[in-house]
Amino acid sequence: MRELDYDVVIVGSGAGGGAVAKELAPLAAAGKRIAVLEWGPKLAEDAYTGREVEMARQIFFDSGGVFTRDRTVTMAYGKAYGGSTVMYTGTSLTIPGEVVAGWDVPGIDYGDLQQRSAKYLDENNAHKLDESELNDNNRLFRAGCLELGYNVEQFPINVKGCRSSSLCNMGCPNGAKQGTHRVQLPVAEAAGVEVITNCRVTRVGEASCDAVVADPGFGLPSVWEPGEYRIKAGVIVVCGGAVNSSALLLRSGYGDRLPALGRYLTLHPALILVGEHPHEISNFRGHPKSFYCDEFRESERFILETCMYFPFTTAKNLIGFGAEHSELMRAFPRLQMILVLAMDPALASNRVLLDGDGEAVIDYTMGPTVLDSLHRSMVTSARIFFAAGAQRVHAPAGVSFFIDRKDAGRVEEMIPRANVVPGKISVTSAHLMGGCRMGRDASDSVADGWGRVHGARALYVADSGLFPQSSEVNPYVTVMALADRVAEHIRDHAGELLQS
């Protein structure tokens, strides 16, 4: 095992790790040694092929299909230089004030997060696309919502030079999306921060961590040779995402004194729904996600977003099989899509565990309130599709594969709650939150409002694991805002933390 010395080690390079790296770059410029250890690879620019199965294998854990233990939800989270910012759609929202108030974390208030979020919205070039850049898939959603009197808002998107490939979730082939791989990490590296890819951290302590570098067989080679490493560090910041940060801390023995570790996981359980129009619409060209409807966020606990997915992902999210399924797939250029995000409660029983090999297991159950939300979201989405002009709608819990336009007034009875059956309908998640939640003390949480692990001198968490409850909006901006706080705390205490 090779031994190395650093002042700061950052585990993970996504929204959290990338932001911390950039915010600590002045320390690197001043001579401190800072390393970012990223499990995934860095891909060459021409490796972003947009081919679904190939890209999923390279930049997602388990090709984007990590199962919950009961196999009712599949989760997609990234493993790459830039983490999940490589494969998100770049929707850039600030967390609502009432959600922050509900978190009830000492030292965290909306004003602080709002200010920090604004900094990253600016840094990442988040802006609303011009009307001329919106495709039919997005415009029809807006039209349907407005027809029904639902509140609909346009997402700010963090792109620069977007060429409307619609391939955001496979990693933008045009380098337009302003993830940490485009913005924060290059700035950090220019200041002297080292980023080591293909490097899995297996254990953390308060003054060192263990890591293994292995060649995955694709991507650019790591700057470290394959092998095992022990890295001494004055400060360690864990930013591996809700699942992997929890698993890393559990594997490192922190579960004994932090009973909340791994718990209170929330997923924003998601459905992908489709409506078929009588004519072709522009859908797989143009940015996939421009609008959202939060009309039902408080009353029925879901939000709706525009989306457009690829053939395999679309196919697996339809219920059924055989001739009807094929018929709907052949209608691909006529499909309008809506993504549902259910606002799931943070429950101690939903958690990250370790299996006998020390690997993460996600023990998560969709409770009745979540299933209610998914049901109501299907009914509402069907109404939006029809209001937008769809000739028929496919609802996973529908009594028939298609609901025809002539039955548009009967969607309540055509989509019975009893048909929302886990394990039959496809439920996915790309917003994993909690597991290392912030709070008052070790009895109810893992870290304080600065992301510092309770009882630890220099061990921090800076990712969506910190969320005490779900963000109720796409989380990356909030992750960056919290990471900004973590970095500020480290900078402000560098004198005591980084004595060498």
């Binding site: 009961d70 495709n135 060429r163 409307s164 797989f284 143009g286 053939p311 099989f321 797939m329 250029p333």
Partner: protein
């Protein structure tokens, strides 16, 4: 007989039989298309642990033999309508384990077929790194 590293010859051949019921277009694939499908599925299975792969093989055996009780024949000896009825039973099965097993099987079939770039034209999917013209034309 298909050659897959992570599914035995018999299971691999039966998988393709079931796949034709789940996605009828699989039956029209040429040798190259079938080979690509098998390669995609094989790679997906490679990423799963040995226990999961074993469960999957067992599940295929269950689908194959279950119709004996209802129709007196194994799945591969049934006509198309009865094959569909059998799979619909698994899809809607009150036993969660069987329902989830079918979901996993279905996902592998879709991955193997729709994951092939060569099949995208059949559904009208033609991605373009520069899609701006496609948006403007709408």
């Amino acid at each position: 007989m298909p050659v897959m590293k992570f599914l035995s010859g018999g299971h691999a051949a039966f998988f393709m039989v079931v796949a034709e019921t789940i996605t009828p277009e699989v039956g029209s694939l040429d040798a190259g298309g079938r080979a690509r499908m098998e390669a995609i599925v094989d790679a997906a299975l490679e990423n799963r642990d040995a226990a999961t792969r074993k469960q999957f093989g067992t599940f295929l055996s269950v689908i194959r033999m279950a119709p004996l009780f209802r129709f007196g024949r194994s799945f591969d000896r049934l006509d198309a309508d009865r094959r569909t009825a059998v799979l619909r039973f698994f899809q809607d099965c009150p036993v969660a384990l069987l329902r989830k097993g079918f979901w996993g099987l279905k996902v592998l079939v879709f991955m193997g077929y729709y994951g092939q770039e060569e099949n995208w034209s059949a559904i009208g999917y033609a991605p373009d790194f520069d899609g701006r013209e496609g948006v403007r034309r709408a």
